[in-house]
Symmetry: C2
Subunit: 146 residues, 2 copies
DNA sequence: CCTGCAAATGAAATTAATTTTCAATAAGTG
DNA sequence: CACTTATTGAAAATTAATTTCATTTGCAGG
């Protein structure tokens, strides 16, 4: 099930949120983007097309969407500036390039059994998990050779 | 192989770093601590016992130790303030309580095969990975019932 | 033990990301 | 169309971490 812009809009309305031009613009940019964006990058892109949208609004909208589970965060190893990204259809993991900080989605996740085992062993009620692989992408490895 | 304070000191010396009272104090606190500490928490503890050690020095020392691989970072889901923790003997993962932010180490890691598969598929040269489970610990679940 | 130099320290300033405050504005219900 | 309430944007405030720089200090070599 692919979550499209229309569905997001109606979900927002259901939850009592208003559909403002700013939110539309932000959603639009997120929907178009094929990758992952920092709040700042999103802000820049939004303002390239639509004028006068504040960075604060970007943060607030991202918070709202994250709260509804429509987008999720990535922790990039280095300086811990967290990235925000388009929500893919299903649970997945991330692969981050240590050279260019590009983020690639990894489909498939076989940690349910592992989670159950951990739960048994520790008494924790497991709510979620985060898996990130870090490495150098093909492009960055090429560059290193020259 | 358990890394003790003496070994760390000699490793530092080997690498041409000086052993200052500040570093000793910080190492001492890290060695005593049974859990994970934020830079700020470490700073407080250090200054409870020894006076006049600057937060900057704490950051610098943590950076140094992390560079040498003697400590590692945890990304706590919520507000992305990263935690620093005592380096356990071997590669492991973390289990974080969403109630009290307690961090528990999880021994064992069977993701080497997974990493190899990802490398083949994506062309990335995998350098490292990060796995964190989040949930509610036994204590916090108890509290929720009352 | 003394000397000198490179490394380390601490205070303050700086950078950067994010959040809060608050008055003005606008969405959408009735 | 009016009214209520959520939303917005600018600026200020917070928070985390890093940089700068003058001063201090560890420690290697005499």
């Amino acid at each position: 099930m692919e979550v499209n812009e229309k569905q997001i809009v109606s979900l927002l309305r259901q939850q009592g949120h208003k559909i403002t031009p700013q939110r539309r613009a932000i959603l639009d940019v997120i929907a178009r983007s094929d990758g992952h964006l920092t709040p700042a990058a999103l802000y820049q892109r939004v303002n390239r097309q639509y004028t006068g949208i504040g960075l604060v609004t970007v943060y607030r909208t991202l918070g709202l969407l994250a709260g509804l589970g429509l987008i999720c965060r990535v922790h990039t190893g280095g300086s811990c500036h967290n990235y925000l990204l388009r929500r893919p259809e299903e649970h997945h993991h991330h692969l981050i390039c240590s050279g260019c900080t590009k983020v690639v989605d990894l489909a498939g996740c076989n940690l349910a059994a592992e989670a159950a085992r951990i739960s048994d062993k520790t008494g924790f009620e497991i709510e979620s998990h985060l898996v990130e692989f870090t490495g150098r992408c093909g492009d960055c490895r090429q560059l290193a050779l020259t």
